[in-house]
Symmetry: C2
Subunit: 413 residues, 2 copies
Amino acid sequence: MSNTLKGACVFGQSGGPTAVINASAYGVIRAALDAPEITNVYGAAHGITGILNDTLYDMGQEDAKELELMLNTPSSELGSCRYKIADPDKDDTDYQRILEIFKKYDIRYFFYNGGNDSMDTCNKVSRFMEKSGYECRVMGIPKTIDNDLVGTDHCPGYGSAAKYIATSVAEVCKDTYVYDVGTITVVEIMGRHAGWLTGASALAAISCAPPDLIYLPEVDFEIEPFIEDVSRIYKEKNKCLVAVSEGIHYADGTYVSEAKVSSTDGFGHVQLGGLAATLSGIIKLHTGSKVRGIELSLLQRCGAHLASQTDIDEAFRAGKYAVECALRGETGKMVAFERDMSSGSYAVKLVLQPLTIVANAEKKVPREWITPEGNNITSDFIDYALPLIQGENNRILESGLPRFAHLKKVLVK
Amino acid sequence: MSNTLKGACVFGQSGGPTAVINASAYGVIRAALDAPEITNVYGAAHGITGILNDTLYDMGQEDAKELELMLNTPSSELGSCRYKIADPDKDDTDYQRILEIFKKYDIRYFFYNGGNDSMDTCNKVSRFMEKSGYECRVMGIPKTIDNDLVGTDHCPGYGSAAKYIATSVAEVCKDTYVYDVGTITVVEIMGRHAGWLTGASALAAISCAPPDLIYLPEVDFEIEPFIEDVSRIYKEKNKCLVAVSEGIHYADGTYVSEAKVSSTDGFGHVQLGGLAATLSGIIKLHTGSKVRGIELSLLQRCGAHLASQTDIDEAFRAGKYAVECALRGETGKMVAFERDMSSGSYAVKLVLQPLTIVANAEKKVPREWITPEGNNITSDFIDYALPLIQGENNRILESGLPRFAHLKKVLVK
């Protein structure tokens, strides 16, 4: 079989946005526009739902300079979705519709950028097209600030969120030591099941000091040792800075953020207002200290002004590589990163992984990168995360504020 | 009288920290170290309490390069305090102690950097020294992200916080439009009594779009029109972005953040977890929409990585000018900014204001810069705030994270 496949391509973004998902989009779109085999480059409005609804943008009509600005534009420029596609063996309605649209536009390349759910979508679409005998090359491009995809050293989006978190925690650390009165600060960081983001708070040590305590969802949370740890450090230093993952949970799986704390602790009611507020209330009760709860909220996923240039470059390369690989015949794969330290310094090699091993799996922080007590991370974690936050981005400003891409988003008729 | 006064100087920082208060500190310390009349340059640990406790740092022992790094180091490097000094006519214990310390170290110059409370402290110390016949020149240097000092066009610290807020709201704005499901986002911004910071959210229009609704504490908040406004915009656009000042309050003065919402609204209990959470709950109940509450918290006051270079420069100049004026005989004054648009573009002129007119007063956003409905700001506000956020800072990084000043803080024996 010849590897040359002529036809259109469609690209979609899915799941929660990141600071660099549009850099991957630009990688795909730029490479696809430049490829002679690709007749038309379409962007799906709101991911797979844009294909199902036949709302596709003609990326060929965009201004080249505006497209390039996507390198520094946060959030998903083409729109995202959280649509969970059915199992084709049970209900193939969506897949028949996708096939119909692919045929309508002669789409022979499908690039999808997202997390594990999106890789699952990719995988199912890929299998269905194969079964249907419709030649279409399907490639997944990883993306998630959570950094929890298997088969890759790390995920585009993580390095930038990590840089945002480390910088913000360093600044909060400076702020914590301002007054001579005792203060305890609890910073709540994203990550329901994996602690990669919360662990990145330890990088603040480079600027100021690391959090005194770090709690990841990989370890069951226990309230008594937590109170003891905080109280002990507060007694020693008159300060305590704590970083917690939003996903910390008790041994029975209940999230601390939604948990009733046992009435023997004086709390018989469900706490409102997020995890940082919940833990702040508990600590205040036990120490009498001034306690501040800070939730980094979605600022950490859209903070493009602090995006790591390493992350932007890698996100772009991942998108471009997906196109290059598809053009030479690859399908059913996700682009992945292999860390290469052979030169003594950090480098990354792009490889492919079968979508099957990526879909619906989760990569967690190794237990041995967390201290035995479960209240901090080890230097292995630092060594892993530090290279990913390197490099300041060269974003373009207008009147002191970021100049984001303005796309025309011309709908295909 | 000759203007030449030989002796030591002491400098202190007070109140909540900002991204650029250390730039003013550097302005004072650098100019004082370079002045032949000034024999010793002392830094008070934790503001006025450092003078009362005789804990002074010898700034002459610091490395010049580390001192310069204060230009990009957030928070109050010498430590801050919230100590409210007594009225000397009622209790002059503190003042006698200050006089004792001033005499002990031959301190003839006192520079104090802070908000209205600190200008009040300056003013009282100044009057007391005069009454005691101890020659000591006292100068105040303004500082507050709240921007609420009278007698000055704006305050050092405001421009950087405004830039942080505008950039973050622009990024949140991008994030808001990602999904095709309806979303309402409420961003809570600092400012108990004045809406300068919250108004700055409108600058996000330059990058993305301004908040649809902006509520400042200058206007009494009413829950019914608020719900109507949000519901109307949400119906029109399927999105609504709201910026609220933490200080919004009902006509009776009760803060919305701590208010019981009347039980006819279905809320009979005090809401926990901050204003954004409170308002999010109310909106969710009335619209059924997905609602996200975001609190910019103290990130907005310590976000030095986004500090406006205009603000850094002006903060530095203010500190330096305080020393220059004191050396030529001025006392009992605060450094202030006069905006000079005579060249057609923004410039600032440094002037002096009597401490008496600054102490304990508050400057609010003019009512005519707020729309008649009280739910947005006018273009006059934009014209005022925009020049203050200009210029990207040249911060120094180390391993991808900010390199803050490391001072030795050698205590004077």
